[in-house]
Point group: C3
Chain length 480, copies 3
């Protein structure tokens, strides 16, 4: 890095020539802005705690340079390519899931030419942050400077300061959690531990591949789970024991949480005999489609029971209609930007689980939503009553300044701040982590600043809350 | 009171040392704030009209001192104890529905230690208002001043100025409505009338215990209704006559309204023979669960019919899933902070009733919701068309600054201001009444101030509207 | 006009005596307001592009004077009379759908006396705009000046400057689309073309009367369609050919779009045999009610297929429960202010159509909603992925400053600006067209101004976007 003319310090923000203004995302009204600035000043350099995301442990196990700008910014980020796709660019042109023909420079040019499409989106905020803070750009990406951007980024990526572990340290990451299949041997996590490097990268137990009968490969996965644990996973007892064992293994490698991405928040609390019978039908493939949903619901309750035993925090992420675009799914598979939220009910759906475990003080269940109507109607009232429930931060399409503001405005008055759990970046794009946390910190400072300037909260309290929203609540909720 | 150093006057707000700032809840932007201040000045001292709530007529009939601070502020207020419960405190610790062990001072200390949990909630605004305006505190409640708070409040509660009738007068209450079972003999209301005290406390006819077959004790209640009225309430005709008689009795004691807390807004308009047959099945206990909902729906239409005859205003409060927490309900019963809103539909649900009576100009039906998505989609369009419909104020989890703002923003453009009915405090906590009305007045002044400063309304109009939203519309809608 | 003392120029806004303030609808905060002003300055005089509405081609074909003030402002505008109706005025009093008894002056007096009911509504903004900008009034309409208003308007309406074509030109209308039945011979459109007048008035193909089996007169309409086209519309093939022919005819007269006002967004993609069988049942009248919805869904997919062939842009306007008030419908018929929105689902509903045509780059489908909860949950994610989808502007009850603001706040972060299509006035009230576009331009300028002052967008970008939101996106999306 020393031989490039790139300035990486945070001090540059706010100079005359910059992509980022030092007051960005703060209220325009001077009084609120002044409070927001003071609050932000208290939290901007706090460590990053990232308990939920989709970065890869392998990056930190191997510590190899990131490849070219396109493989870093465009092709892995469905926020980026779904917008380009919606405006007529094809996966072929973007060389996503396709053979390379023109190569990354040409894809980068397409991206740069259409960078204006991201105006008003959080993607633009995240990208500009990385462009300025990490690569020192001060001019907006466009058709003309596309090659300059490309060459500069490509050169910098080869420097030692941009190896994954160096970036991890520079970003001030206190903890980073990946999300992993129960079938994952977690070799990369083990390698990181053995390497002597001090960065804390932990796994998260995401059992969807072995508890969702509609997950591709479910039946093979259940058998593989048996092979991995020495349990007979074709019996209900053996299957549950195998899951418990894998949870223990994840815990040994640092996991503190599980994650559950079901289509709905439906839970069930069948008697043991009924559950065993249902499992048998599921394994035989004779269960009706509606029963598969019941099985998923039963497994959420089983996971809650295990959490009460082993202490893993439970995250429930329902409400995404996956792979909505049949043609894209058939050709390119999952996670191609074609997951669409649907209406989600929590009140009746969670009742069986809550009737069983809702009053347990040693259980923590973090609820997420893609359906904002549930914040004030369902989620805040539920979390404002049940001791086991906490509200996860705005997620996915709602991980944005307006989305975060609506979350605070609709959840806080009923659930308070202390039934929430700080921020999740939930990203696949490692370089976006500091940008995303910065947006969250600024947006929280703006919200608190407004409360203070409207005399709904005193500034000493807002300062305490700013710290809680940034590091306190997340460490506590995720047992970090 | 004269021998305490407590200053109760409203003038103290805004001094340097205070819990409450004189500009609280006004917009931070100076122009809007200045208008809001001027509008608030016009309405802050207007009388309190409280046409819907859950205070007890007995307090005013007997006029005995309120007991200790915990029985006043903590144990009866589910807004307070549900937050404490959600954060791990137990009903045992809070001595709610349990034997007293440590006693109220110890419960108060727990409350004080956790007072920070209420940051950002309306509960905090209400409590601070009572603490400062009624008890003269200027320091935020916390662990250290808990005993001082306790002792001061306990002492003041014994003074004559804090007897219920004295507070009623000091609060400037023009009218206070309680909510009562049709089986209630209304002895306290009668006693108030006979006492010569001038305070206007009126009952509200809430027939849920005798029209909802799933209400605990429904069958005994229907029999008791028969005993009370001399009608054979096991026949459809006799049952309807008995209800009409009780409505008359409530009217004699001042009632101007009924209230209906059904699970949904479903209405029915069965022919008379079908209705009688259904009633017979309900009374025999042979009706299906779905038919019980139909019966409730039919009873809403019957109540509308009776309202057209006797002039009682009809309030419909649907959408709460009651007693969601099975363990809490089994041990402690109803109203323990575990009611959770669900999605609510009005458009199809109200159609049978509206097809029958929707165009009646002499009928007033006030609609409430816990599902904010219905404000702009369903409720404002309905109230902006049907002559009989008016919109109730934001209710329960939505009775908060942000909730009120969203109501105005989403309902006003379609329904206007004149299809709304002012504010309801809906409280069980008598001391919170002035605080709640103050929050509503400030929030309305803030909303109107913003409209004026954005030149969407002239200030003379805003002044008229401020008066309407505070006393005009409520007196008119509730026929007071 | 020259002989009246009315000043029509836009310059008068902002003077001391005026109904309209020059800064109306801009943020109160000075920094944001300043940016909003600058942005508005760039767009305020741009031409009006109106690709969707319900004005009548006949006005421009015949170019006759508009009748009296009541027939212009009150009786045809359901926004106006539904509010009056909701507050107790009757259709008899307003002489809507009834014989004239008192006459228009008396109706105007009722309207003027109740003008305060519109405070806080967009109707008020539109009316004040017309009153000041077109008729020169500077005093708010009220009981006292009702006759002065009436006489002034009546006099001005007779002047040549107020003939439809003169107003069209004065309003700066670049294009105006009407909405027409497939059975309409479009004689007025043809007459306009032949007249030599340069105003561009085009039809829109709205096939509801012949594709919705529950539309009054459906069966006669299908037969009439056959007579008009020479096809045997009682066969599936002939029916489809007839529709294709009418689409061609509409195109010849300038149409660039179709419009579909279905109860839901449900689509189907039946095989050809199944579709033919269903059509046969529909025509015979033997189809079940649920099958009628399936038929409508199938027809949306058929229309998409035809759009891919003939290039007409497709507009889908679902979610209105039509004719909710049975008594009003029985006596006065359709479009009497009694249509009420219901919850609308898009994600599953559109799937069949999108699975078939969703990835077509040559197809444009513009989605509208009356259910604002779908903006962030469903519509923005769908439009932010599928190449064929764009988001229509806030519609009907949501065509208002707050409605527009919520649309931008909830849709932009996921869909961006470029998956939207500018503004639709959707009006039956010709004189409200400039007022409605002015409200939209101001509200967009306000939104962009806020983004700029919060440093989420640079001002040069905001300026480009202001132009796009006003004329660029609409011309492009509607192929104008």
């Amino acid at each position: 890095m020393s031989d490039t003319s790139v300035c990486l310090s945070r001090q540059r923000r706010g100079t005359d020539v910059a992509l980022l203004h030092e007051d960005r995302l703060f209220p325009a009204e001077e009084g609120s802005r002044a409070v927001a600035r003071r609050l932000y000043e208290l939290i901007k350099d706090l460590p990053i705690v990232s308990p939920h995301g989709h970065t890869q442990a392998r990056w930190f196990a191997r510590n190899e340079p990131f490849p070219d700008p396109v493989k870093l910014f465009v092709q892995p980020d469905h926020y980026v390519f779904r917008m380009l796709y919606s405006q007529g660019m094809t996966f072929e042109e973007l060389e996503i899931g396709e053979d390379e023909i023109e190569g990354p420079r040409e894809v980068w040019r397409i991206f740069a030419t259409h960078y204006y499409l991201f105006r008003g989106t959080p993607t633009r905020l995240w990208l500009d942050y990385a462009f300025q803070e990490l690569f020192g750009f001060t001019e907006r990406l466009n058709e003309k400077n596309a090659d300059h951007y490309y060459d500069t980024i490509a050169a910098i990526l080869k420097t030692p300061d941009f190896l994954p572990r160096a970036l991890f340290d520079r970003f001030g990451i206190e903890l980073l959690a990946s999300t992993d299949s129960p079938l994952d041997a977690l070799g990369d996590h083990a390698a990181i531990r053995e390497s002597g490097w001090k960065g804390r990268v932990i796994p998260t137990f995401r059992p969807d591949p072995v508890v969702d009968p509609q997950h591709p490969g479910f039946h093979e996965n259940v058998r593989a789970l048996g092979a991995l644990t020495g349990e007979d996973t074709l019996t209900w007892r053996g299957y549950l024991r195998a899951l418990a064992r894998r949870r223990e293994y994840f815990k040994e490698l640092g996991a503190t949480a599980t994650d559950h991405g079901h289509p709905t928040a439906m839970t069930e609390d069948l008697g043991d005999t009924s559950a065993a019978t249902l499992f048998e039908q599921v394994i035989k493939g004779t269960a009706y489609a509606a029963d598969l949903e019941i099985f998923r619901g039963q497994m959420l309750t089983e996971m809650a029971r295990m959490s009460l035993e082993d202490g893993l925090v439970m995250q429930i992420h329902p409400g995404s209609v996956r792979n909505h675009n049949a043609q894209i799914f058939a050709r390119y598979g999952r996670d191609m930007g074609a997951d669409i939220p649907g209406p989600t009910n929590y009140v009746e759906a969670l009742r069986p689980l809550l009737n069983r475990f809702g009053n347990e003080r040693k259980l923590t269940i973090i609820l997420f939503t893609l359906d904002e109507t549930t914040y004030s109607r369902e989620l805040a009232p539920l979390a404002g009553h049940y001791p086991c429930l906490k509200l996860g931060p705005p997620w996915w399409f709602n991980d944005s300044p307006e989305g975060m503001r609506r979350f605070r405005e609709t959840a806080t008055e009923t659930a308070g701040f202390y039934n929430t759990v700080g921020f999740n970046d939930d990203t696949r794009a490692f370089l976006s982590i500091p940008a995303r946390h910065d947006v969250a910190r600024r947006t929280d400072a703006a919200f608190l600043g407004k409360l203070v300037s409207e005399h709904r909260l005193d500034e000493d309290e807002a300062a305490e809350l700013a710290w809680e929203l940034t590091v306190g609540l997340v460490r506590n909720a995720y047992k970090l």
